[in-house]
């Protein structure tokens, strides 16, 4: 688990102004904190693709946005990410909660290491979106960092740095639930 206040502290340090996304269970604790955070505007969108385009407009307008979505929504938003934040080379950090990670890890599987086929992706004991997340990011040219525990939170700062240096969007995969203090 990851304590949500640690993530929020890093977002404050990075002077994030806006968080855009669609809620899920894993991000609930962080969303609760963001809803009460006066320095950051929280905007819920109807579909994840909107978030990448709005965030790109916010960055052009001088703000520092972050996208917060589930990996299912990441897959849904592929062309929006490609055509806005990536094509515009926006240094945008996208926090992605990884649905299905626990079941995948419990079976000794890793997203980047498996040969994907219909048999694996159809297994009822797995959530296929977890298997597809890292290969999809790799295919789209989006680098990523992984946050699994509180000890990984410094990787969030690294993601902001890499995004700025590379002038490109970058994903931070959150593989466990965020929790309240």
């Amino acid at each position: 688990m990851i304590h949500a206040e640690l993530v929020l502290e890093e977002l404050r340090r990075q002077r994030v102004t806006d968080v855009l996304g669609v809620p899920d269970n894993a991000s609930k604790a962080l969303l609760d904190l963001l809803a009460a955070e006066p320095a950051i505007r929280l905007l819920t969108v109807t579909r994840e693709g909107e978030a990448f385009a709005i965030a790109s407009g916010l960055w052009v307008g001088g703000r520092t946005p972050v996208v917060l979505i589930q990996n299912t929504g990441l897959l849904e938003a592929g062309d929006a990410l490609r055509g806005t934040a990536m094509r515009m080379r926006v240094p945008l950090v996208c926090l992605v909660t990884v649905r299905g990670h626990a079941r995948m890890a419990a079976r000794g599987l890793r997203s980047s290491a498996e040969a994907l086929d219909a048999e694996l992706l159809g297994r009822p004991d797995l959530d296929s979106v977890a298997l597809l997340t890292e290969p999809t990011l790799r295919a789209w040219g989006v680098p990523w960092e992984v946050l699994a525990t509180d000890a990984d939170v410094p990787r969030l700062a690294a993601a902001f740095r890499r995004g700025r240096e590379g002038e490109q969007p970058l994903a931070v995969l959150i593989t466990s639930d965020t929790v309240a203090p």
Binding site: L43, T46, W59
Partner: protein
């Protein structure tokens, strides 16, 4: 109405507003305007011009932001209507130029062509100000008030189908802001907005 009857009066009144164009309106607008605050959401992501414009509007609340969307593009992201209202972006004016076709791909009919009611959708999403025009004179007369006051404002204008093709982003384009890459174009607008011109 012709597209020119929609765009020419707007070009004369846009002042320091950001104008975001997409699809079949990109080149017609560029023939009338080549301004640091013009931005073409082209060679980009289909259906997300209004989302991008919303982001700029939220970042620049003191400045009017006009999005010239197409009907096919609007249908691709109808949820944006709800997000715009929920965001409280009072400085956004969202046009939908409705010609009932996907013009850039050869004027195939959009779903619901001739039946889809964009003003009703905008009202249902909660837009406080909704306008619909089929007559050039009525549109031109109303335009000053459309561009003034708090929004968000939604405007549907019925236009004739045209024959525009996709943007090339190169030296062959007429307007300076259409020639750079999308990334460079975004940075030019970012710098212009930061300069507060």
């Amino acid at each position: 109405m012709t597209r020119d009857e929609v765009l020419r009066p707007l070009a004369g009144r846009r002042g320091r507003a950001v104008v975001v164009t997409t699809m079949g309106t990109v080149r017609p607008w560029a023939r009338l305007s080549d301004h640091p605050f013009d931005f073409a959401s082209a060679d980009s992501a289909m259906g997300h011009a209004a989302d991008f414009a919303l982001g700029v509007a939220l970042a620049q609340p003191q400045r009017k932001v006009v999005c010239l969307n197409g009907d096919g593009s609007m249908l691709m992201s109808l949820g944006t209507l709800v997000t715009i209202v929920a965001s409280g972006a009072a400085n956004l004016v969202l046009f939908v130029l409705q010609n009932d076709t996907y013009e850039l791909t050869g004027n195939q009919a959009i779903p619901g062509a001739g039946r889809v009611d964009f003003p009703a959708m905008a009202r249902a999403a909660g837009f406080p100000r909704v306008h619909a025009f089929e007559d050039a004179g009525a549109y031109a007369a109303a335009l000053p008030s459309i561009l003034e006051g708090a929004g968000p404002v939604f405007v549907t204008v019925r236009v004739q189908p045209g024959a525009e093709g996709p943007l090339g982003r190169g030296p062959g384009e007429s307007a300076a802001y259409l020639r750079p890459s999308l990334a460079e174009s975004a940075r030019l607008l970012k710098r212009a907005l930061a300069g507060g011109q």
